[in-house]
């Protein structure tokens, strides 16, 4: 199927991690959906940006974390990963605080989620076939 005819599916993540299961089970959906013929993007907004903070350690909680899985999103062919700039700024976060989601095949440079403005996200939303909130 050509890139143009693939259905665009966006995921929006707006909840913080660990307090509830939404982010964790939402990630399971993204990994499965990536195996199908769809043009997938993931956008982290509001407290969702905390899900991408590097250095999460859930061992003391006794629950399974997901930082390792986020670290290989690019390997799952999920390359369109965006964070909302204002949500980051409001929380005192910069791109350097974010975990790495993979590395560039050629240069082996680490790939981090891309910071974008809310107007860009709004424009992307309007292009989607369906949007799933997780």
């Amino acid at each position: 199927m050509s890139e143009e005819s693939k259905k665009k599916i966006m995921f929006t993540v707006r909840k913080p991690p660990h307090g509830t299961i939404y982010v964790y089970e939402g990630l399971e959906v993204k990994l499965i959906m990536a195996a199908y013929d769809a043009d997938i993007s993931v956008v982290f907004i509001d407290d969702g940006v905390y899900a991408l903070k590097a250095g999460q350690d859930t061992r003391e909680l006794g629950i399974k974390g997901f930082e390792a899985t986020y670290g290989v999103l690019v390997d799952y062919e999920i390359q369109k990963v965006y964070v909302d700039r204002q949500s980051m700024e409001e929380r005192g976060l910069t791109e350097d605080d974010l975990l790495v989601i993979g590395e560039d095949e050629d240069t082996e440079e680490p790939i981090r989620p891309k910071m974008v403005d809310s107007s860009e996200i709004a424009a992307m939303m309007a292009e989607q076939h369906n949007i799933l909130s997780f």
Binding site: T12, R14, K15, I45, D46, Q86, S118, I121, A122, A123, M125, A126, Q128, H129, N130, I131, S133
Partner: protein, 98 residues
């Protein structure tokens, strides 16, 4: 775009944050606890009033308003039912601000 908001603006930022991602011509549907945002004369009424001023159409689900004994909605907010909700979904792409 249709944006659905189901949280009270007094307790949750969903409505306020949703507004940042709405464009002229978009539609917001307030439902469940989201209908508290549709009430006139509250400290949070300016949120919906600012959306209306941006040419964003705002609807509130009548069943949720009635269940919560909410009568006076902000001028310009249209009260709709589940059938109207279906029509909004048919006419727009949708994002739920859960």
């Amino acid at each position: 775009m249709l944006h659905t908001v189901n949280k009270s603006p007094f307790q949750n930022m969903a409505l306020e944050n949703c507004l940042r991602f709405t464009q002229s011509g978009d539609v917001i549907l307030l439902m469940e606890d989201g209908v508290y945002g549709a009430v006139s004369g509250t400290a949070k009424s300016p949120l919906v009033e600012s959306a209306l001023a941006k040419k964003i159409k705002v609807y509130a689900l009548g069943a949720d308003l009635k269940a919560r004994a909410l009568g006076e909605t902000i001028q310009g907010v249209e009260v709709t039912d589940y059938s109207g909700f279906v029509d909004l979904v048919e006419a727009n792409r949708i994002h739920s601000w859960l």
